[in-house]
């Protein structure tokens, strides 16, 4: 624990320093920018809500990537799985009769979102398990396929009124907003926390989780221990895709209430960062998602002082800093255990 804290402290301080240098480059006082950023994000409930909203999608995609990562699979296709979830969730939601009550509409749409994401990723897992196709390649390529299919379907069938937005979903399928100054944060936040808890339970408390992590550590050893590596790969990918697809609940059911081209674009890729930052642990992923969400919402809150590209850049800096500080701390402590302790 102490080791993680030290690494986190180093990473945060280093990122702060890089950010401050960039701020000085554009000629603004760092104290002013950081101060405004923290103040506006945590005292203005609207900005706080926007941070939580961004973190919701990021956390789900992060959990998706983390889960696969622990089974030894690099799911780089959360982007496409999320897009599939958005497509399925919004199409089904719009097809439901307008009077569908929420207790039916919400589970149906959630299932559609998770199912579509799971289907796409499950296919990747199946290709890996049966044909040995590398999951990085097939999931990247499926990102393009899904994006192309949803744009095509949008243009042919879904878009209404000359815009790139589809018909609204049934009112019963809308997730309630949490208020917070008109921000977009909604009940999907609770779903996300439940999903994180479920992943944690599966991971640490069940034999399934044990099997996943065993395959992730050493497939050959897992196989000789009697675990079906192929089965684990397919299941882990499917579960991973379902989590990524669920992020559509936040975007479609809680936010746009309709299909829209490009909804959630880039979230799947940022989810990879959340998973890596959070070191694949569900709690870590949540914290990482909050941090990235803070940079996103805070970046807009200080858009007048510095270009918002600066905070976009900082997201990369933070990930890089964590990646470098963790092994640094590990090595420093291994070298001089007394000094560091």
């Amino acid at each position: 624990m102490k080791r993680e804290l030290q690494a986190a402290a180093i990473a945060v301080l280093a990122s702060l320093a890089v950010g401050s240098v960039l701020m000085l480059v554009v000629g603004v006082s760092p104290v002013r920018v950081w101060g405004t950023m923290v103040e506006r994000t945590f005292t203005d409930e609207y900005n706080l809500g926007q941070m939580l909203f961004a973190a919701t999608s990021l956390a789900l995609c992060g959990l998706a990537v983390a889960l696969a990562l622990e089974a030894g699979l690099f799911n780089i296709g959360a982007e496409g799985q999320l897009a599939a979830g958005v497509l399925a969730c919004s199409t089904l939601g719009a097809a439901l009769p307008a009077g569908t009550p929420a207790p039916i509409a919400i589970p149906v749409c959630l299932a559609a979102a998770a199912g579509a994401g799971g289907l796409v990723a499950g296919g990747v897992g199946l290709l890996k398990a049966t044909r040995g196709a590398h999951e990085v390649i097939s999931s990247i390529m499926l990102n393009f396929v899904v994006a192309g299919v949803s744009l095509w379907l949008g243009n042919e069938l879904l878009f209404v009124g000359g815009a790139t937005t589809g018909a609204p979903i049934a009112p019963g399928a809308e997730l309630p907003h949490l208020g917070l100054g008109g921000s977009s944060v909604n009940a999907a936040l609770a779903i996300t926390l439940a999903a994180a808890a479920a992943v944690w339970w599966l991971r640490d408390r069940t034999t399934w989780g044990e099997a996943w992590r065993a395959v992730g550590r050493d497939p050959a050893a897992a196989r000789s221990a009697g675990i079906s590596v192929e089965r684990v790969q397919v299941l882990a990918m499917t579960a991973s895709g379902a989590l990524a697809g669920l992020a559509a609940a936040n975007l479609v059911m809680g936010y746009k209430h309709a299909f829209e081209d490009g909804l959630g674009r880039n979230t799947g890729f940022l989810g990879i960062s959340a998973a890596l930052l959070g070191r694949s642990h569900p709690a870590g992923v949540i914290i990482a998602a909050l941090l990235l969400g803070f940079l996103q919402a805070g970046g807009l809150a200080v858009a007048e002082l510095v270009p918002k590209e600066l905070t976009e850049m900082l997201q990369g800096v933070v990930v890089l800093a964590v990646a470098a500080s963790v092994p640094f701390v590990a090595r420093a402590r291994a070298r001089a255990p007394k000094e560091a302790a």
Partner: protein
């Protein structure tokens, strides 16, 4: 290096940077003019697209200069979706509260409707706003719509009069009804003065990125010039840069859109169909200052002098006076209602 030493070093570096900034960077002067505050969110292409967004940006600067308003803007990227940007401006409170929030581009239509309901005490305006079916007018949302087909008709007529090969081209951005309006007006203008002229038309794509793809614009325009077109009109935002590049390379003529685009390629830009988004925004700001802002649609065209074509000392050599006179006559006929310009 030990962990502790690194931590101390990093703290020291940060302290130095903070102190340096605190001591040596002057605090930015608070924006003068406690008057009206206006925020704009641009479409893909950004505020310097030399086209539609730039017109809106010029409008904001004009309002800052002449009316003393305080302006702020956001250029959305993939990282910050446009709705989030619009929402961030609308949700400002206290001293930063904005009196008018403008979304530039049809893509903002549905977002504006929802935000106008969510923030009833902020005034919203959408440039090229297309109301969604069933949406009633909101008291705090103005939709600006330009009759681009009228301006396109005029440049179409100019092209029809000036072409040597009797083939002219049209390059559109994203294939949507809004851009179709430009094509339809242009075709009508060409046909009005030159019934046996051919019009080649192509679009750069079916998603918003089609407005920021100069290489594709160059390919499409190059193919048209190869097919004997000698004048190409574009309505494709930043993609039009490629059209001008193709024109420059082949020594052919092109027609700009939204702003006066002569300066991008002085060799070749014969005229431009201008859409005075800048003046329309200044008009809106005036209404806000006078507290006369009323929601609803505004249609702006030739009669309102918010759409037109460019004929000045710069493009004199490319656009002969005879053509200018004929086109001006057509303009008067449209304003008088003698010519009905089709738009779909």
């Amino acid at each position: 290096m030990s962990v502790r030493r690194l931590l101390i070093l990093l703290v020291a570096i940060n302290a130095a940077l903070f102190a340096g900034g605190w001591l040596f960077v002057p605090a930015p002067a608070p924006k003068a003019g406690a008057g009206v505050r206006v925020g704009i969110v641009f479409d893909v292409g950004g505020k310097n697209d030399k086209s539609f967004n730039e017109q809106a940006y010029n409008g904001l600067r004009l309002a800052e200069r002449e009316l003393g308003v305080v302006g702020t803007f956001i250029e959305p990227t993939e990282g910050v979706p446009r709705e989030t940007a619009l929402r961030a401006l609308a949700a400002r409170t206290g001293d930063d509260k904005l009196d008018l929030v403008v979304g530039v581009g049809w893509v903002f239509s549905s977002d504006l409707e929802r935000l106008a309901q969510l923030f009833p005490d902020v005034n919203f305006a959408g440039v090229d706003y297309a109301p969604s079916s069933g949406a009633g007018t909101l008291p705090n949302l103005v939709g600006l719509r330009f009759r681009e087909h009228e301006g396109s008709f005029l440049v179409g007529a100019a092209a029809g009069l000036a072409t040597h090969t009797k083939v002219v081209g049209f390059v559109g951005g994203m294939q949507i009804p809004l851009i179709k309006k430009f094509e339809v007006g242009y075709r009508a203008g060409v046909a009005h003065v030159c019934p046996d002229c051919r019009v080649l038309a192509a679009y750069a794509g079916s998603d918003p990125r089609a407005f920021s793809n100069p290489p594709l614009g160059q390919q499409l325009a190059g193919a048209m010039y190869d097919d004997d077109a000698d004048i190409i009109y574009h309505a494709s935002g930043k993609t039009g840069d490629g059209v001008f590049a193709a024109a420059r390379r082949r020594g052919q003529r092109a027609i700009g859109v939204d702003s006066d685009q002569f300066a991008i390629a002085p060799c070749c830009v014969m005229t431009s169909m201008v859409k005075r988004v800048d003046l329309a925004i200044v008009d809106l700001v005036r209404e806000v200052i006078a507290k006369k802002f009323r929601g609803g649609m505004r249609e702006l065209g030739l009669a309102e002098q918010r759409v037109g074509f460019v004929a000045d000392e710069h493009n004199r050599l490319l656009l002969p006076p005879a053509v200018v006179n004929k086109v001006r006559a057509l303009s008067d006929e449209i304003i008088a209602g003698k010519i009905q310009v089709p738009w779909q």
